[in-house]
């Protein structure tokens, strides 16, 4: 029996900031003090507060250490684990009240407003140990479903919960299952979409890394509900940690007889295999994903027939997103009413958001549907750092739109986001401040969709490229007012005529920025000015003569020799030579250089 558990985050964020070495050092130090039998070191999934990684939590005290380095480890072992003295200098500052008493992590602003359902085990259990998942009631839902419920009852329960697809479109999950259950076939399939491709989104990765069994269990339940016997998880190869933990989880579940033949002695057979995606964004689209599992080039096909009728290998198939599955076991165990008690009228439960961009607490948060964007950005996320002001939040990645400051107070759910021209998407939430150019953002997302368009249908293949060309024309200062109209017209054309959701939603970043930030577009076109100072072609650097002391620092740092002037006399920038790298502005100690 261990007297102390040390949890070290093994999510991708913390792993890339060296949590592996922390674990190695920790084990070495613990052994050196002869504490191996007393202290258990556990590598967990993501805690959500990625901005403060690497993260370490020591129980039973519940001390939350942030930004731990391998060199801090000896002190933690000697002071905390050996002598019981908490190392206050490493504690997450929000957990310290009045510099003396230490409050629970769950009372800090970042966690207080969260309600963790899909992420309930992330940062709590060891994802590579099935017994820890079982200790948290894991696989009880599968046991309950197989021994006490009929497939129809399972589907009814999921329907009653009001759960909607967390991949972005928000289709009711129970309804999807009932379609597949109705279609008769000798073989049906259950698939999991873990091809998370939106820039800035990492909810699914964190669930797979922190709680892989929750997905396996839910897939088994889905399988029982629709009468399938084989499942596939389509996960991108760029997620090596998630792939590894999924494979360990599948192996362990087979070992414990929770996958395979005759599960719970009920005659129910189910197995899961992994399929690795090569990183094409379009493979997150359901028909392209299934084509890819079949071993073909990942391209979408027209619907209908919908996958519930003809999906993988032409058999009835359901495809759900990772986060959707992560809710299923809890719905079965706690009941549809419990789930439906959270959220808004048409969007039930909670939603995980990956907070990124210009925000203090970058990380992963799970809040009930209907929480306002202001609460997420200001209260949980800690607001925009460095004295800048909030300009917009981008949801849904390249398929979504920008939400301006004026809409900060709308309760977030599927329908509200659609009504203001954005979409839920998979849950990426990128915060932008006053140094972000909205035209440039639209250009960035279009560049992404141009790269990722599979090329099968013309509206998307050619349309996205033409959109990008117009946007580049505007950001380089050569745009006309007619371009804005053409841009908008082409957007609607793409929406109407593209084959799959990739092309249909690709214009969203353009349309929403045109709608809410048209003045910025006009400033680029009419005044040849980029208000945020981002678009290089429209921005010049100048030295204010009254502030310049002639210290020559800027001239010495200019990589192209564009700055001239005598010592102790105001300097001048040659705008013809200047490449607008900003090095001079960074170096100037007197704030004499301005961008306009």
């Amino acid at each position: 029996m261990y007297r102390s558990n040390v949890l070290v985050c093994g999510g991708t964020g913390c792993t890339s900031s060296n949590s592996e070495e922390i674990i190695t050092r920790l084990k070495k130090e613990i052994a050196a003090h002869g504490l191996e039998k007393e202290v258990n070191v556990i590598r967990t999934g993501c805690f959500g507060l990625c901005a403060l990684g690497p993260i370490m939590v020591v129980y039973p005290e519940g001390s939350f250490y942030s930004r731990v380095t391998p060199d801090d480890v000896p002190e933690i072992v000697e002071e905390h684990l050996l002598k019981g003295r908490i190392v206050k200098r490493l504690l997450y500052q929000e957990t310290i009240v009045n510099d003396s008493t230490i409050r629970s992590l769950n009372d800090t602003p970042f966690y207080a407003k969260q309600n963790r359902v899909a992420l309930r085990n992330c940062g709590v259990i060891n994802p590579e140990n099935i017994e820890e998942y079982i200790a948290e009631d894991g696989y009880s839902a599968l046991g309950k479903v197989l021994t006490e419920m009929t497939p129809e009852q399972v589907i009814e329960e999921v329907k009653a919960s009001g759960l909607r697809g967390r991949g972005g479109a928000g289709f009711p999950t129970g309804l999807k299952w009932s379609f597949a259950a109705k279609n008769q076939a000798d073989q049906k399939y259950v698939c999991c979409n873990a091809d998370e491709g939106d820039p800035g989104a990492f909810m699914d990765r964190s669930i797979l890394e922190g709680d892989p069994h929750s997905v396996l269990e839910a897939m088994a339940i889905a399988c029982y509900a629709i009468g399938a016997s084989q499942g596939y998880i389509y996960v991108r190869a760029e997620y090596p940690i998630a792939v590894k933990r999924l494979q360990i989880a599948i192996n362990q579940a087979r070992e414990y007889g929770l996958l395979g033949k005759n599960i719970f002695d009920t005659g129910f057979n189910f197995d899961i295999d992994l399929r690795l995606g090569a990183g094409a964004f379009v493979c997150g689209e359901e028909t392209a994903l299934m084509t890819s599992i079949e071993g073909k080039r990942g391209e979408p096909r027209p619907r209908p027939p919908f996958p519930a009728l003809k999906g993988l290998f032409q058999k009835p198939t359901i495809l759900n997103n990772v986060e959707t599955y992560a809710n299923i076991a809890q719905i079965i165990l706690k009941g549809a009413d419990w789930f439906a008690s959270m959220g808004t009228e048409k969007s039930k439960g909670t939603k995980v958001f990956a907070l990124g961009g210009k925000i203090k607490h970058t990380g992963l948060v799970e809040v009930p549907m209907g929480t306002t964007l202001r609460e997420i950005v200001d209260e949980i996320g800690g607001g925009v750092p460095d004295g800048h002001t909030f300009k917009a939040a981008q949801t849904g990645g390249p398929s979504g739109g920008c939400i301006p400051a004026s809409e900060l107070d709308i309760p977030i759910d599927y329908d509200n986001l659609l009504s203001i021209g954005a979409m839920m998407g998979s849950g990426g939430l990128i915060v932008m401040d006053d140094t972000t150019c909205m035209v440039d953002i639209a250009r960035f997302f279009l560049e992404f969709t141009v790269d990722e368009s599979c090329g099968k249908c013309t509206p998307c293949r050619v349309g996205t490229r033409r959109l990008l060309e117009i946007l580049k024309k505007i950001t380089s200062g050569n745009g006309t007012m007619e371009d804005l109209d053409r841009l908008e017209e082409l957007c609607y054309y793409l929406k109407e005529n593209s084959l799959c959701a990739l092309g249909q939603t690709a214009p969203n970043p353009v349309l929403s920025t045109l709608h809410y930030f048209r003045d910025e577009y006009i400033a680029h076109v009419k005044d040849h000015r980029c208000p945020a100072g981002v678009c290089k072609a429209l921005t010049n650097y100048y030295i204010q003569p009254d502030k310049c002391r002639g210290c020559t620092l800027c001239a010495r740092n200019c990589p192209v020799g564009a700055i001239s002037g005598k010592v102790k006399e105001p300097h001048v920038i040659d705008t013809q030579k200047c490449i607008k790298c900003g090095a001079c502005m960074e170096k100037c100690k007197f704030g004499a250089i301005v961008k306009r």
Binding site: G84, V124, E131, F264
Partner: protein, 123 residues
């Protein structure tokens, strides 16, 4: 996996391992002084004895944790038992054997072992 009972058995066994984690405001807290003075006086075996005994008896709502020096070094090893209401009993000059009795009498049966408390030992 052949039955729900089998799953239940694994769950109960595994739960003890993860029970340290998480919040419990209704728990009795057992604090063992583990500063240099406590360790020198033999607090480690005392702490381990308590952890083992609590696990063996499968006591719920008991959190065993270590703490620093509380300033009565001549009485180490010191063990404090704090009830959810905040009442504190301080046991001094503990040994693993005495610790087992504290678990049995105090934590299980609710009877303070008066003879080990600081009040009985300070004269």
């Amino acid at each position: 996996m052949k039955s729900l009972e089998e799953l239940q058995a694994i769950r109960d066994k595994a739960r003890r391992g993860v029970s340290l984690r998480g919040q419990n405001d209704n728990a009795v807290r057992v604090l063992v002084g583990m500063a240099t003075c406590g360790i020198a006086a033999g607090a480690r075996p005392v702490l381990n004895a308590i952890v083992e005994e609590v696990a063996k008896r499968n006591l719920q709502n008991v959190i065993v944790t270590q703490t620093g020096c509380i300033g009565i070094c001549q009485f180490e090893p010191v063990v404090e038992v704090v009830s959810p209401q905040g009442e504190k009993v301080t046991y001094v000059k503990m040994t693993p054997e005495k610790a087992l009795r504290v678990v049995n009498d105090h934590l299980v049966n609710g009877n303070v072992v008066t003879e080990y408390t600081i009040g009985a030992n300070s004269n």
